[in-house]
Symmetry: C2
Subunit: 334 residues, 2 copies
């Protein structure tokens, strides 16, 4: 028991700053194969999974950009607006729960949500998704090869998409090189920014491999109340509390304003910020966070230094080939 406790403390303290692993954790019931990644990539990029053929997963989680859509709120079928800002898909495989409110315990569960969300891909239900995919012989064949079944269902679709998403990792950021031992790679301001980041207390939540909290088992979320120290002036400006976070799902008072701690990896290229995308710049995001979460007024210099440090968290986006979407021959899909 004592050893276990020690191990736990040790692992939490270790989780304070870590390099991004090159491979994501893989659930036992969804092993990765090359063919499954390829199938998942096709599905991820296929707008036919939305009711009118205009929206794919990639529309809002654009892997060619920072993994999001660069907009405050996403636009789904017919330009309908979602309620929250699309989180980046890059490194999402290292998050222990998905969505801003953590309502999906895995990438597999997450992948099913937007398909039938009326303001996203707006499919009537998952059965319609499957009957659509079954119209496309190239998909039927791949599902048969990958999952050894002709009777695939939405769970197979989700497994394939999640498998592709597990390949979306941005290693070798300047920070990763630094933390692995190349201490010379940081310039003076980056070092100062890193120290300020820790001294101020940003790292009390933004730690672990993804700067999104300790490395917890899949399904166990790391949540914080946002704002912790509500500020009338900031609230008036950004309207954060309109969204009650996890409470909207659980309806439990203790979940009011609780949000999953978001990743800081690639934060410099995933503006705008916060669950409602209301903050346009990273320096303002840092100022607001310190005030609302730590009740601290940072100096301009502290903010500048932290922003410079946060820029070291931009990783390498690996080159990818485009998927080729299988077509229905000699007839229209719609």
């Amino acid at each position: 028991m004592f050893t276990l406790l020690l191990n736990l403390i040790f692992s939490i303290s270790l989780s304070a700053q870590e390099a991004l692993p090159e491979k994501a954790p893989v659930p036992k019931d969804n092993p990765m194969t090359k063919e499954k990644v390829e199938l998942g990539k096709q599905l991820y990029f296929d707008p036919r999974l939305s009711t009118d053929g205009t929206i794919s997963c990639n529309s809002c989680h654009n892997v060619m950009a920072g993994g999001d859509d660069q907009r405050p709120l996403s636009a789904g079928v017919g330009g309908k607006l979602g309620g929250r800002s699309a989180p980046t898909v890059w490194n999402s495989a290292f998050l222990s729960v998905q969505f801003w409110d953590g309502r999906a315990k895995s990438l597999e569960e997450q992948a099913k949500g937007p398909l039938t969300n009326p303001v996203e891909m707006a499919m009537e239900n998952h059965k319609v998704v499957i009957s659509r995919i079954k119209q496309i012989p190239g998909y039927v064949e791949q599902f048969k090869n990958v999952f050894k079944t002709k009777n695939f269902n939405i769970d197979h679709v989700a497994k394939a998409i999640a498998t592709y998403e597990r390949t979306l990792i941005t290693p070798n950021s300047k920070f990763d090189k630094y933390i692995k031992g190349n201490k010379k790679i940081f310039n003076a301001q980056e070092k100062r920014g890193f120290n300020t980041f820790k001294e101020v207390g940003c790292n009390s939540c933004h730690n672990g491999v993804n700067f999104a909290g300790p490395n917890l088992p899949e399904g166990t979320g790391f949540y914080m109340k946002f704002p912790t120290f509500a500020d009338a002036k900031i609230e008036k400006q950004y309207n954060f509390q309109k969204d009650k976070g996890r409470f909207e799902v659980t309806k439990q008072d203790s979940d009011k304003y609780m949000f999953r701690v978001p990743t800081l990896r690639n934060i410099a290229v995933t503006a705008p910020y916060f669950h409602n995308g209301a903050v346009k710049t990273l320096d303002e995001a840092v100022r607001v966070m310190a005030k609302l979460q730590l009740n601290k007024e940072l100096t301009k210099k502290q903010i500048e230094d932290i922003v410079v440090f946060l820029n070291t968290l931009t990783g390498e986006f690996p080159e990818q080939t485009m998927p080729r979407l299988p077509q229905t021959k000699n007839k229209s899909f719609f």
Copy 2:
């Protein structure tokens, strides 16, 4: 003069059936470079070129699919519908004019249209497009490298996009292998279909390297009246004549119902068919074409054979890497 005439006749007769060249014609004032292709690819896939950041060139001309959006009419910003079905971008470099009505004399000219079309990308004007692109340092740097100017304008943007589009070629179709001499590659039905295609007269318009008419100089369109032999029953079903084609641009009576002859390359994977996308299947498209353009009622067998032949026009879609879209650092683009 006589020699010129002979050459002309010879070249038109040669243009009857041709393999797709591996390289597209390149205008003198827009030479291809690797860097320009890469810049053009980024712009082609960048939804920030639309007013709300939701629509890129690729949204309607999806290179991962058959080069179109697989819908009857395209959906632009806010889900607004266009008036015509998106033509495929693949092999469009071999068309001598662009758009269904040929209103753009080049790929460069075409690329400028959708940007400011209110039902497509809906940008206010081209100056706004440029000021947007200039917000993104990664683009500014590339324009400087590629075009040797900091003061790039919409013509540079169009040149880059057109240069990328000139790489979108699908060589090595079964037909191409056949016409280059591998006569054994066609089975009996494919041969029969090819003969029927010619005997019926499809090839009187659908000839040349792109099966879209003779190889004409850039800017010179090959148009046909559609329908040539109007049919009340078909018209009632498909409403083709609602669209007066080239007349809508020129307002000249002689251009009423004139459309550019579309390519048949990859026709099996680019349903639905016709300028309004009203016909869902290739066999019905063949039946309708024979009736409306040649005043012929084809037998079921003739139609089947032609469809089988048309499937030999599906080429190889070369593997491509995804572009990486340059980001604005530490601040929101929108």
